[in-house]
Symmetry: C2
Subunit: 238 residues, 2 copies
C-alpha cells in the first residue's frame, strides 16, 4: 500500500499545535498522560489534499461507558462494586463481560461462588453508585446500601432499587496485567414492570448512567436519533 | 442466609402481571425472547414488607452501549464493522476489548495482521455507521466509505471522520460459542483537536452514539449530572 507524503506546511502547523497541546497537558494531567508528544508523523494514504487535522493523544484513552453495579457474595456477605467496563460478550448463550481491577474485593466473591450480578442503576442512584466505587468491601460493609434480592443462583445478590438486574454464572476469567475480565452467562434477568414497554426494555425509563474518563464524569442517557440495521440502508447500492 | 416467604397476595398479583406480560411478548418478540414466564418466585431475604415489584425477563438482555467502528485490513483492504460490544479491558497497559460475531469478515483481518482499530463515530455519521453494520466486507468493499488514515501499526485502518480513533495490537482472542472477544493493547490514539478541551476529551463535542437492543435504536449522549469518585463521599461515615 503506497504511503504519500503529507502536505509539509500543514504538517508543520499541526505539529506545532500538537506540541503546544502536549506541553500544556504535560502539566495538567501528569497522572493520566492523556496527551503525549507526537512521536512520528501520521501516514495518510490517498489523502494528501486534506489537511492533517489529527493530533496524537496518549494511549490511556477511554470510551464513554454505561455504569453498572456488580454484585457479589464475599464470605457470605453481599457486596457491590461500581464498574464502568461492562459489555455483552456472547450472543447465544447470552454472556456478559465485566472488567475489574485485580486488587478489588469483589473478585474474591466471584472466585468463591462462581457467580455475580450486573445491576443497572438509574441516575437517581448516582450518589449510592458512586459510593460503591469509593469504598472497598474489604473495609466497609456495603451489604446494607441497597435492598438486596436473590434469584435462582442464590449467591448473586441483586439490587431492588435498580430497574434491571442480571444474575450471572461465571464462564471464564481472563487475567490481564492489572485487571481481570469476568465472563458470565446470564442465568436470570429481572426488571421493574414500569421499565418494560411494548415488550422491550424502555431505556429512557431505565435512565442509565454513563461514565467518562479521565474527566471522571457521570452523564445521563440522550435522545433517540435513529434505527439500527435500518438507517444505513439508503447507502446500499441497489 | 434466611429466605423469608414473600407476601402471598402481592406475589399472586405480580405473577398475573408477569404471565400477562410474558404471554403478550411471546407473540411480539419470538426472535428475541425478551420476556419469559416466571419459572419460580424470587427469594427476597429481609424484604417481606416490600411488594415484589420485579418481573423476570428473558436472559437475552442488553445494556446500552457506545457504538464504535472497528477497522481491520483484510487481504490488504481496509474494512470497517459496526460494533456495540466494546469496553476498556485493562488499565495498564491500556487495553480494549471488542466482541464480534464469529461469522463476520473483520475477524479474518485481525487474525491476519494481529491489529485492529476502534473509532468513535459522532452522531452525524449515523447512516454510515449503520451501513457498516448492514453489509459484510466479504461481499461489499467498505474501504471507500470513509477517509482512511494509518498510524504506527500500519495495518489498522482508522477513520478520519471519527473524532477519536485508537489503533490496537492484538493481545488475546477469547473464543466464545457464537462470538470472540478480541483484546487489544492501545498502541496509538488520535483525535481531532476540536474535541480536546482543557487537556481532556470533551465527550459532548465527540458526540458519541449509543445502541440499545433489542429495540435496535441509536441514542445520543446525555447531560452531565455528577462527578465520579466524588459525589458518593457524602455517604461515607466519618
Amino acid at each position: 500500500m503506497p504511503v504519500f507524503p503529507i502536505n509539509t506546511v500543514r504538517a508543520d502547523f499541526n505539529l506545532m499545535v500538537q506540541i503546544a497541546v502536549a506541553e500544556r497537558l504535560a502539566c495538567v494531567l501528569p497522572a493520566f498522560g492523556v496527551l503525549s508528544a507526537v512521536q512520528q508523523p501520521l501516514h495518510i494514504p490517498g489523502s494528501v489534499e486534506k489537511p492533517m487535522d489529527k493530533i496524537q493523544i496518549g494511549q490511556n484513552c477511554f470510551i464513554p461507558m454505561p455504569v453498572v453495579l456488580v454484585g457479589t457474595q464475599v464470605s457470605g456477605k453481599a457486596n457491590f462494586m461500581t464498574v464502568g467496563w461492562c459489555s455483552r460478550a456472547n450472543a447465544s448463550l447470552p454472556m456478559i463481560v465485566c472488567g475489574t481491577g485485580n486488587h478489588h474485593h469483589s473478585p474474591k466473591g466471584i472466585e468463591e461462588t462462581k457467580t455475580f450480578s450486573v445491576n443497572i442503576p438509574s441516575s437517581d442512584l448516582l450518589d449510592k453508585t458512586d459510593y460503591c466505587g469509593l469504598v472497598s468491601g474489604e473495609k466497609t460493609d456495603k451489604s446494607h446500601v441497597f435492598d438486596v434480592f436473590y434469584g435462582s443462583l442464590k449467591t448473586a445478590p441483586m439490587i431492588r432499587e435498580c430497574p434491571v438486574s442480571l444474575e450471572c454464572r461465571l464462564v471464564q476469567a481472563v487475567p490481564l496485567p492489572t485487571n481481570t475480565l469476568f465472563i458470565g452467562e446470564i442465568a436470570g434477568a429481572y426488571a421493574d414492570g414500569r421499565v418494560i414497554k411494548d415488550g422491550k426494555p424502555d431505556f429512557p425509563e431505565i435512565d442509565p448512567l454513563f461514565l467518562t474518563m479521565p474527566d471522571n464524569r457521570y452523564w445521563t442517557f440522550g435522545k433517540y436519533v435513529g434505527n439500527a440495521w435500518s438507517d444505513g440502508k439508503n447507502l446500499i447500492k441497489g
